[in-house]
Symmetry: C2
Subunit: 287 residues, 2 copies
């Protein structure tokens, strides 16, 4: 075939990729061509706009490094990451809902229940407790609970490795016989995603702020259960209705309860402001 015009080019490309030997690669190639061409046909870009798009994608790739993934930010801010998350987690009702994994996870140090994981992070004390259960509400003992969160300026330890390369604000716990775990840390805060790159420019052009509402990340695994990756968001946060990555679900918003002085649930005697959170995580069964 040697005649490709505006009317026939899409079918010509579809015909070409129809020869892809691997079935899945063929499905993805065909869908990509179909939807990409439909996008181009809808917007009818000028040649200058097309060049701008090429430049945007190139700069997005070139912004990526060992500590920065600009294409994940692009996927997050266009709602693609949450859509992929939803497609991959069609869970039975009653299970704790999932949300985005985010770019700030590394395998955390292990701690005994009750330990303080805040390390060198600054902030006001927070007591976090949880209970891991199965679909029937029965406690899951020995679940591996990874947690991670920012400091009270909105930075993860990873983003400050230049200052101090020790992990902080992250830890791994194992739930007890009653399915429960608890630890101390400091209260995090809402923060902007890195916005000094192409994605920041896109958000700015779209009149959008770059903030995520305050949250703590949880990843919970246990034999026979589906892995749960989620956040617990702080009720009252001003960005709950406009999370830049569309990660919020109502069921994942909880009171970060405020206290002054008094005694914490583990008996620790407190002075000044502190916070507490207690939450059930109901896992979905595997398979």
């Amino acid at each position: 075939m040697r005649e490709f015009d505006e009317a026939t080019i899409t079918d010509a490309v579809l015909e070409r990729v129809a020869g892809t030997p691997d079935l899945r690669a063929r499905q993805v190639s065909q869908a990509l061509v179909k939807h990409l061409h439909a996008f181009i046909r809808e917007i009818e870009p000028t040649e200058a706009e097309w060049e701008w798009g090429i430049r945007f994608l190139t700069e997005t790739g070139q912004k990526c490094s060992d500590t920065r993934q600009e294409f994940i930010l692009l996927s997050d801010t266009l709602g693609v990451s949450m859509l992929v998350d939803a497609i991959n987690h069609r869970l039975p009702s009653g299970s704790t809902e999932t949300t985005v994994f985010g770019p700030f996870y590394i395998a955390p140090p292990e701690f005994e229940l009750g330990a303080d994981i805040s390390g060198h992070l600054q902030g006001r004390p927070m007591y976090v407790a949880g209970r891991v259960t199965d679909a029937g509400g029965r406690p899951v003992a020995g679940a591996v609970v990874d947690v991670w969160h920012s400091d009270d300026q909105g930075f993860y330890d990873l983003q400050k490795f230049g200052d101090d390369p020790r992990p902080a604000g992250r830890g791994r716990f194992r739930s007890g016989e009653d399915g429960r775990f608890h630890f101390w840390t400091i209260r995090p805060t809402a923060y902007p995603i890195p916005n000094d790159g192409p994605v920041g420019k896109m958000l700015s052009a779209q009149g959008r702020h770059p903030f995520r509402p305050e949250h703590i990340h949880f990843m919970i695994t246990a034999p026979g259960q589906r892995k749960l990756v989620t956040h617990i968001f702080a009720a009252g946060d001003p960005y709950l209705d406009s999370d830049v990555v569309f990660g919020v679900k109502k069921s994942l918003v909880e009171d970060y309860q405020a206290h002054h002085d008094g005694k914490a649930p583990d008996g620790r005697v407190m002075e000044g402001d502190w916070f507490s959170l207690d939450r059930e995580f109901r896992l979905a069964p595997l398979g």
Copy 2:
């Protein structure tokens, strides 16, 4: 809004980008979200496949340099460049058709009519003549005719700058009072696009070869006329029906006439094999 599930996430993102202040940026953002989400919904990627996609885009960006544009290759090989070309060149019938600009243009040195532009490129002699006309077939005098092509191994001078940084196989001419131009060069050949990067891997996964059929590039500008960017392809080339960038149009295929010994149209006495091409370029009027 704080509840984004598989059913509602696309509308949530569309609502968010609906606030884009600039009308055109808003149209493009909305269309991008709509078609990108439709693509994801059709293929339902696993999380591992999504990660593969992020990696592919990242590697494509990181392959780009001053002398390599991998995202243009991706656009070319998915037929997007030709679709954009078609959308931007809805020409009156009778006008010479357009095709992709390609990544190998630089502003060429100027030559007198009849000069030899082959420089240090190796290959068999080729005499190229043309006539620039307007929509009514009247000669266009003083048109600026830029030409560029590969050597007989399929490499452009740019790709061999390590060996010799002088331009070769490219030149600028001005049509005479009769609209005609002519020059000498060497005959190019079919060649693979650069395929040692992510796009090469994609083509390979799709069971596609990376070749473009033999061609010479022309870019012609003249006052009152639309700029013409096109190629003239060599009839008989084995890749005419499978050009990896979908650039071929029937009307752009011409005999590269073969000769042995004899006299060239400009009177030059030839020995051995040589080739000739003579072609009209009919420009579309501006506006």
